[in-house]
């Protein structure tokens, strides 16, 4: 019976504030757990300008985790995370929507604090691409570069 439980698909929700190229972000996602794997899909909001946002933006989060260690009260994992955000930019002459795509491989851990609730963090490196409208040239262009993601995690498993 115990072995069957371990192989069942389980569900959870996870919320995470994090810092990356796109600035200060906050995400919420639904996770599906199967054996040592979890796949999460959710949304994020991005406060991409410096300091506090005047207007936030919404994006998509896809997050895969592989649990290298999974004990009753501690887990460690590596994860592959993709997220994006679309944000408005406007000046006196133009109004545009730019998009940032981020791809990060992370390493992190989770600790059970009370029944079904886990907290943790992760640190990851990867890349970004920013598809933007070049105000000076009047055309769409791309910035690409390296990315660093620092993430706090709060997870609930049903």
């Amino acid at each position: 019976m115990g072995a069957q439980d371990k192989e069942k698909l389980k569900w959870g929700v996870e919320t995470s504030p994090y810092i990356s190229y796109s600035g200060i972000n906050w995400g919420i996602q639904v996770n599906g757990f199967y054996k040592k794997h979890s796949l999460g899909i959710g949304v994020k909001t991005s406060f991409q300008s410096s300091y506090f946002p005047y207007k936030t933006s919404i994006g998509l989060v896809v997050d895969y985790k592989y649990f290298m260690l999974s004990k009753s009260n501690i887990k460690s994992f590596v994860s592959i995370n993709y997220n994006n955000v679309v944000y408005d930019v406007k000046n006196r002459n133009y109004s545009n929507k730019n998009t940032i795509h981020e791809y990060v491989v992370s390493n992190g851990f989770l600790i059970k604090i009370i029944n079904k609730i886990w907290v943790g963090n992760s640190i990851g490196v990867g890349g970004y691409s920013e598809r933007y409208f070049n105000f000076s040239e009047g055309k769409k262009e791309n910035y690409i570069g390296y990315n660093l993601m620092l993430k706090g995690l709060l997870s609930y498993e049903f």
Binding site: G23, S50, F52, N91, F135, S136, E137, E141, L148
Partner: protein, 288 residues
């Protein structure tokens, strides 16, 4: 008690969300405010990961956020080339040691920004010369404004007395603005009257701005020397000050503006330029 606290918080939120009616803006720029990025997209913080005065930050402010211009900090290198760097010492933001004026330009362009882990590991940005920025700006279809904040006290005083230094400094500025025919888009600010006088002696057509919070004294200097305007800290200037400056036919730029509430306060003073650390936020306040 709790309801009072909630009411107070709601009032604070509502007041911080106060919008601006751009039809109420009256200044000497045809009633619109120029948005100028502080050192590029703003000074480096946890959520603004690009080093100020770096090329990536400057170009992002212009190309991605569509700012009207950028404000950069200018110093002279040992071989008397104009370079962009804010602080007195290189250690504060880069892997260099010492003062900018102790290095030749070629050495400075090899010094890498490394203030935090992100810049250290992932950004390969080096100290840049003013000429490199002007080469880029002069090729843009829409020419960005270039606001130069001259660091007038940073030089080797064992080699120069102030008068000699200002003469050399001014000639370098005049030459480079002329070389790229960038008079129309260049605004030069300093708190040092003698440097500004030297600049206006060498080129009377430069747009020179005196950095001061003493409005009356600033206007006297501007009118006496036929300069362009005042650069002032937003926190030390009132709406009445700005109105008075404008009544004298003098333009004014304000800086030290980071939060949304300060952006709104600055806009409501109707300056001609706002030098901001949050370009997109200011644009949304102005153009939404």
């Amino acid at each position: 008690m709790n309801s009072r606290i909630i009411m107070l918080l709601l009032l604070m939120i509502i007041s911080s969300c106060k919008k601006v009616n751009i039809n109420d803006i009256h200044n000497l720029n045809g009633d619109f405010i120029y948005v100028i990025g502080h050192g590029g997209v703003g000074f480096q913080t946890l959520s603004t990961q690009l080093p100020e005065n770096s090329m990536i930050s400057i170009m992002k402010a212009i190309e991605v956020y569509g700012a009207d211009g950028v404000e950069v900090d200018v110093q002279l290198s040992k071989d008397l080339q104009l370079v962009l760097y804010h602080d007195d010492r290189l250690e504060t933001s880069t892997d260099g040691i010492g003062f900018v004026y102790e290095y030749n330009l070629i050495e400075l362009t090899e010094i890498k920004y490394n203030r935090d882990i992100y810049a250290n590991l992932f950004i390969d940005e080096h100290v840049v010369s003013l000429e490199t920025v002007l080469q880029k700006f002069s090729k843009q279809k829409i020419k960005p404004q270039l606001h130069l904040d001259l660091r007038s006290w940073l030089y080797d005083n064992s080699l120069y007395n102030p008068a000699d230094f200002f003469s050399v400094y001014a000639s370098k500025i005049v030459n480079i603005v002329n070389k790229y025919q960038y008079h129309e888009y260049t605004y030069i600010a300093s708190g040092d009257i003698n440097l500004l006088k030297e600049l206006s002696q060498q080129d009377a057509n430069l747009k020179l701005m005196i950095e001061t919070n003493k409005v009356n004294w600033g206007i006297e200097q501007i009118q006496e020397n036929r300069w362009y305007g005042i650069l002032a800290n937003n926190h030390n200037i009132s709406k009445q000050d700005v109105k008075y400056v404008h009544s004298q036919g003098v333009r004014i730029a304000v800086f030290d503006i980071k939060t949304q509430s300060n952006q709104v306060k600055a806009v409501n003073k109707n300056p001609d330029f706002i030098i901001t650390d949050n370009i997109s936020q200011l644009q949304q306040i102005l153009y939404n």
